[in-house]
C-alpha cells in the first residue's frame, strides 16, 4: 500500500509524466546525430549498400558474361565503367563484388568480435579461466596463418560445398577462417580492460548487492569495454575485406570467376599502367566502405559514452 501511495499523488504523477526515464537509445541517437563525421559516414555507407543491393536490379548485366571482342574498353554508354580484360562489364562486377565483400567483411568481423569479446571477458573476469584462455590466444597468435588457412580450405571446402552449395559453402568457410584467425587482438585488449574494470569500486558495489556474475558482465563490464570493442570492430571490417581479397588472390577463396572487390583489384594489377581505373574503382570502393564504417564506429563510440554525450 505504501508503495503505491505515491502514484496517487498528483504532483508525483505530473513529474513522472514530465520526465519518465526514457530509453538510453534515444540519447544515443541524439548524440550520434550531432557527430558530423558519423552522419556523413552513415550516408556514404547507406549509399554503397543501396548501390550494391538495388543496383543489380536496375543494371541488368550479368557480371560473368564474357565478351572477348569488348576487352579493356573505357567508359562508354554500353559499359559506364568500362570492361575488364575478358570484356566483362565493370559496373556489374563492382556491384556484385561489393555484395560479397561487404557481407564477408561484416560477418567475419562480427564473428571475430564475438569470439574475441567472449574470450577476453571470460579470461579477464574469471581468474581460473585466465591461464588456459590466454595461452589459447597466444597459440593462435603464434600459428602461421597461411598454412592454417590452406589446411582449413583443403579440409573443409568439399564437405561445405556439398552441404551448403558451392557459393555459400565457400562464403561460410572464408568467414569462419577469417573470424577464427583475427579475434586474438580483440581478446587481449578486452581482457586488459576487464582486468582494470574488475577492481573498480562499482563492481564491488554490485557484488555487495549480490549481482551474479553473468549480470555483472552484461550490466557493468560489457558497457564499459564497449569503446575498445567498437574500435577493433571498425578496424576489423577493413582487415576482413583485405584478407578476403588476399585469400582470393592465392586461389584459396572464392573461385576465380566469382567477383569480389579484392578479386577485381588483383585481376587489374597486371595491367595497372594501361588501365589504372580498373584498380582505382574497387580500391575506392574498399576505401570508402572502410572509411565510412570507421566514422560510424567513431560516432557510435562517442554516443555510447554518457560522459561525452551532450557536449
Amino acid at each position: 500500500m505504501t508503495d503505491t501511495a505515491p502514484l496517487k499523488n498528483p504532483q508525483f504523477q505530473a513529474e513522472a509524466a514530465a520526465r519518465p526515464p526514457r530509453s538510453q537509445w534515444w540519447d544515443v541517437w541524439d548524440q550520434f546525430k550531432t557527430h558530423k563525421g558519423a552522419i556523413v559516414g552513415l550516408t556514404v555507407f547507406m549509399l554503397i549498400l543501396v548501390l550494391i543491393l538495388i543496383g543489380p536490379f536496375l543494371w541488368r548485366v550479368d557480371p560473368g558474361f564474357v565478351e572477348l571482342r569488348m576487352r579493356n574498353k573505357g567508359f562508354s554508354g554500353a559499359h559506364p565503367l568500362g570492361t575488364d580484360q575478358l570484356g566483362r562489364d565493370m559496373l556489374a562486377r563492382v556491384m556484385a563484388g561489393g555484395k560479397v565483400s561487404i557481407s564477408v567483411g561484416l560477418t567475419a568481423m562480427s564473428l571475430s568480435i564475438l569470439l574475441g569479446t567472449t574470450i577476453g571477458v571470460l579470461a579477464g573476469y574469471f581468474r581460473r579461466l585466465e591461464g588456459p584462455l590466454m595461452r589459447l590466444t597466444d597459440l593462435f597468435l603464434a600459428l602461421p596463418l597461411l598454412p592454417l588457412l590452406l589446411l582449413m580450405v583443403t579440409l573443409f571446402r568439399e564437405p561445405l560445398s556439398k552441404s551448403f552449395g558451392p557459393e555459400s559453402g565457400i562464403f561460410l568457410l572464408i568467414v569462419c577462417a577469417i573470424g577464427a584467425t583475427s579475434w586474438m587482438q580483440t581478446a587481449r585488449i578486452v581482457r586488459g580492460e576487464v582486468l582494470a574494470l574488475k577492481e573498480r569500486e562499482f563492481v564491488l558495489a554490485a557484488r555487495s548487492i549480490g549481482t551474479p556474475s553473468r549480470r555483472m558482465i552484461t550490466r557493468h563490464v560489457l558497457p564499459n569495454v564497449l569503446s575498445p570493442i567498437m574500435v577493433s570492430a571498425t578496424l576489423g571490417i577493413a582487415s576482413a575485406i583485405i584478407t578476403e581479397s588476399a585469400l582470393s588472390f592465392l586461389g584459396l577463396g572464392f573461385p576465380p570467376d566469382f567477383p569480389t572487390w579484392g578479386r577485381l583489384l588483383f585481376d587489374a594489377i597486371d595491367q595497372m599502367q594501361l588501365y589504372p581505373w580498373r584498380v582505382i574503382l574497387p580500391g575506392v570502393a574498399i576505401s570508402l566502405t572502410v572509411l565510412s564504417v570507421n566514422y560510424i564506429g567513431d560516432g557510435l563510440r562517442d554516443a555510447l559514452d554518457p560522459r561525452i554525450r551532450g557536449r
Partner: protein, 373 residues
C-alpha cells in the same frame, strides 16, 4: 563514572546484530617464476567484536591498518581466511553463494569514492534500481515509485533520475550511493570512509543525512573513518585498529575521555582543539618510526616497536584482547591481570613521560580532549 557503567550495561542488554568472531583476512604474497607463496599480508589479523542493533560503531586507525579490508571482509566482498561473521545469527563468512545472495539485502555498503562506486554508464534510476532488480520483482511503476521514494529520502531531486553520475557533485554522488545502499531496507550498513573524499561542508551534510536515516530507519552502522572528530560525532562506540588488530574498543565518551591503550592515547592526542587556550595545553604524543609491514609484523605486541610505554614482555608475548572494564576492551600488557586503575596509572605515567620528554609532570588524563562532549 557510575553513569557510564550504567550506559554500558544498557548497551550490553541490547541485541547483538553483527558478531565478528576471530576474523582473519590474509592476502598471499607470491614470488618467483612458480608464484610460490612466500608469506601473507595480514591485513586483518584475528579481530573480534560485536555490533549492537541500532548503534554506530566507529572503526578508526591510520592508513593501511586494515579498516577497509575489515569492512569488506565482514560483507564478504573478500573471502576471509578464517573466522566467522554472524549477521542476525547467520554466518556470512561460510555461507554458500546462494545463501549469501539471499543475505545480501540485510547488509549493504557505502563506499569511499562516490565517483568510482557508480557505474559511469548507468543512469541514476538504473543505479538505485539495480538492487531492486536483483532482489525484488516489482512492476515497472512500483519500482519507479520506490526509486523516487529513495531519492526523496536522501534529498535528491526527482528530475535527476535520467542523469548520469558524472553530472553530479561529490556530495550528490554520495547520496546516490546511500540511496542504493538503502534500496533493500538493510539492517546493517558498512560506511567505508563515506566522507573522506568530500569537501568539509559536504561532509557535515552527508553525516547528518546518515544520522537522520539511522533514526528514521533504525539502521546499524559500521562507520570506518580516519577522521577522529567525525567518529566522535557519529559513533556510539569506537574501535581502534592498529596493524590489522583491534587494540581498543570502548564507548565513545569513555574512549575520548580516558584512552587506555598507548596507541589510542597517541592517536587522540593528534586531534586539534578548536579552543585556542586548550590547544596550547594539548600534548601531542609523537610516535617515532613507521608502521611495521603487515607482511612481517613484530614479535609480541604489534605496537611494541613504537610504543612509548613499551615493557620487555611486550616484545615477547602477544597481549590478549580482554574486557578491562564493562564495555571496554583493550589489548595491552599494561592492563593484563590488573585492575583498570593500576593499568591506567602505569600507562599514563609512561605516556606522560614520553610525550613531554622532560620534567613536565604527568598530564591529567584526557585534558584537552575531554571537553566538548
Amino acid at each position: 563514572m557510575l553513569d557510564r557503567i550504567k550506559d554500558d550495561t544498557a548497551v550490553a542488554a541490547r541485541n547483538v546484530l553483527v558478531e565478528v568472531d576471530h576474523l582473519k583476512m590474509y592476502f598471499p604474497i607470491t614470488a618467483g617464476i612458480f608464484r610460490a607463496k612466500v608469506g601473507d599480508v595480514k591485513a586483518v589479523d584475528d579481530v573480534t567484536f560485536d555490533i549492537y542493533e541500532g548503534e554506530t560503531l566507529g572503526l578508526v586507525g591510520e592508513s593501511g591498518c586494515g579498516k577497509s579490508t575489515c569492512g569488506r571482509a565482514i560483507l564478504r566482498l573478500y573471502e576471509p581466511t578464517a573466522g566467522a561473521v554472524r549477521i542476525n545469527g547467520r554466518d556470512v563468512a561460510s555461507a554458500s553463494q546462494d545463501q549469501l545472495r539471499k543475505m545480501r539485502p540485510a547488509m549493504q555498503m557505502v563506499f569511499q569514492d562516490p565517483q568510482a562506486s557508480l557505474n559511469p554508464r548507468m543512469t541514476l534510476a538504473a543505479i538505485i534500481g539495480e538492487p531492486l532488480d536483483e532482489h525484488t520483482r516489482l512492476a515497472k511503476a512500483d519500482k519507479l515509485a520506490r526509486i523516487y521514494e529513495l531519492m526523496d529520502q536522501v534529498g535528491l531531486n526527482r528530475n535527476f533520475a535520467n542523469r548520469y553520475p558524472h553530472e553530479f557533485s561529490g556530495g550528490q554522488r554520495q547520496r546516490i550511493g546511500i540511496a542504493r545502499a538503502l534500496a533493500l531496507n538493510p539492517k546493517f550498513i558498512v560506511c567505508d570512509e563515506p566522507i573522506a573524499a568530500l569537501d568539509v561542508s559536504i561532509q557535515a551534510q552527508v553525516v547528518n543525512l546518515l544520522e537522520e536515516l539511522q533514526d528514521r530507519l533504525g539502521l546499524t552502522y559500521l562507520f570506518i573513518s580516519h577522521d577522529l572528530s567525525m567518529v566522535r560525532h557519529i559513533a556510539d562506540r569506537v574501535a581502534v585498529m592498529y596493524l590489522g588488530r583491534i587494540v581498543e574498543l570502548a564507548p565513545r565518551e569513555a574512549l575520548f575521555a580516558e584512552p587506555l591503550h598507548p596507541y589510542t592515547q597517541a592517536l587522540l592526542s593528534a586531534v586539534p582543539e578548536p579552543d585556542p587556550n586548550q590547544e596550547i595545553n594539548r600534548r601531542r604524543i609523537i610516535l617515532t618510526g613507521d608502521v611495521p609491514s603487515p607482511a612481517n609484523p613484530p614479535k609480541g605486541c604489534n605496537f611494541c616497536t613504537r610504543c612509548p610505554a613499551v615493557m620487555p614482555i611486550c616484545r615477547q608475548d602477544e597481549p590478549t584482547y580482554q574486557e578491562v572494564a564493562p564495555g571496554r576492551f583493550v589489548a595491552c600488557h599494561h592492563y593484563a591481570n590488573t585492575t583498570m586503575t593500576a593499568g591506567l596509572t602505569a600507562a599514563a605515567e609512561a605516556s606522560g613521560q614520553n610525550a613531554s620528554g622532560t620534567k613536565t609532570p604527568t598530564v591529567p588524563k584526557g585534558q584537552g580532549i575531554q571537553q566538548g562532549d
